[in-house]
Symmetry: D2
Subunit: 163 residues, 4 copies
């Protein structure tokens, strides 16, 4: 009965394609009744929140700063942590699964924290990740927004069954 929480992570300045993917991911998460969690700022975060709340879903933004005002206007709920970059750990900690879209170093830190916490990570055009050339890819590489959401929800079900 309890909802699935999906973090959508990506850069605060994103390409048109990334913004479109993020908005579609947000919309599909709303359709599936999942709660979207993000860093609450611009770019991928903003687009995902907009797609989600426009489709009637719940989008939670977890901000780095001391007040809620820089939060995207498309968030349902805005948390101001005052923790700076340490808030990345909370975005990931709150989620059952993470969808990474594009992204810069902040996104990479969230991917790494998620993998460290044994949370599944689904990627859309995001960081390649292999410690050595022969390492298995720890990220599920999705081919579209719909594929990313389907895989994220599947992975969340599997993970939570074993809790």
């Amino acid at each position: 009965m309890s909802e699935t929480y999906v973090a959508v992570i990506g850069a605060g300045e994103a390409s048109t394609a990334e913004m479109a993917d993020a908005e579609e991911v947000g919309r599909l998460l709303a359709d599936a009744g999942a709660v979207l969690v993000c860093g609450g700022l611009g770019g991928v975060m903003h687009a995902a929140a907009r797609g989600c709340t426009r489709a009637g879903g719940t989008a939670v933004g977890i901000l780095p700063g001391d007040d809620r005002s820089p939060g995207s206007p498309h968030l349902s709920v805005t948390i101001s942590t005052g923790l700076g970059e340490a808030r990345n750990a909370i975005v990931v900690r709150t989620a059952d699964v993470v969808i990474a879209i594009g992204g810069e170093f902040g996104t990479l830190s969230e991917i790494a924290l998620a993998l460290r916490m044994n949370k599944p990570v689904v990627g859309l055009s995001t960081w390649p990740l292999a410690r050595t050339p022969s390492s298995l890819d720890p990220i599920f590489r999705a081919t579209s927004a719909a594929d990313a959401v389907a895989e994220a929800l599947r992975a969340a079900r599997t993970t939570r069954r074993h809790d």
Copy 2:
């Protein structure tokens, strides 16, 4: 247009009177369209969240632990911070104003952090607070749940006007 966020703080184990006050505070915050923020666990937090969401409002719980499962089932949104008691600073940071109901040491730490951050604190049967016998009381002492909510909303309006 942006909502007022009100933290309702109090002990995880509370008296019948405190629970009734918390539930009424939650209900009145929902009626006023404010977002309720709390620590997400039992006692005052649980009762306030129940009063709020049963009246159609939004209640956000910010948990100390690593997963969302100990959160009250009456929360609209549950954040797991993994920060332990350091999460108290986030509960207060996210709010425009704080209502303290009864409470133990955790509540006292949140009252003190709120005052440190220059956020108004409204108290219902909570900690007395005077550095010296002649100090002014930094807490507005409410006489009922309705009085507490009215004063909190008034203080939030005043504070935010000066932002």
Copy 3:
């Protein structure tokens, strides 16, 4: 064999008497081979660090901000947390026992967090603390810097024996 860590907490702007007490507490902690932990800024924190390191002891400052530059020059080690007021929880978490000297709301939050974490608190002219008029005082009230340090070290021994 492992050292005792003692947090010395108090306001960033303190009276002459508080500064003298803090410096003496720092000196005595150094003499006892304890590690002093503080918030790293001015006032009581600065005086305690100075007393400690001038006597050859180790003083650790845990700062709220993003860089080490506002730290007292008398610190042996300076940590910049970037967490704002949430760093108060780390000051207390790192210590075995807390000595509070005077203090404003930030100090009160640290006293409350320490009591919440079941850590002994020794007070020198600090906040009175009683939930009700008949409550036992949760703080050991010291009469001098020497008394405060003696009690803190005694309390730390007792607490750690039961760990």
Copy 4:
């Protein structure tokens, strides 16, 4: 006059070669009068702290948990944050420059946070990092412990000159 703080990051379980590199890095940082910061646990963190303090240097461990007991016995100062993985941000925030040795996902999160905070990162057999095949490598790749320390100190001087 103020010291340089160098974070040495790497996995809690490390290979013999990584341990040897970490110990040598710790020793050379002590020789240079730099303060070593690390996550305070085993593997690379333990070896670096041992190399540093055996050579008379200062090694600071910033632990994820609620008490200091899991800290390496070779630390000069042990901080218990109680923040879980969010403590990674503090390790990086406190340092002027980061040396990464080998490492798993936790280390990758610290590399990414350092780059996000515009802090130089020197790598010894650590994660490859390129968002696209044509991206410039954001990590200085050192060929030995001595090379890593020399580059880290050089980068710290350059960075701090511009502060």
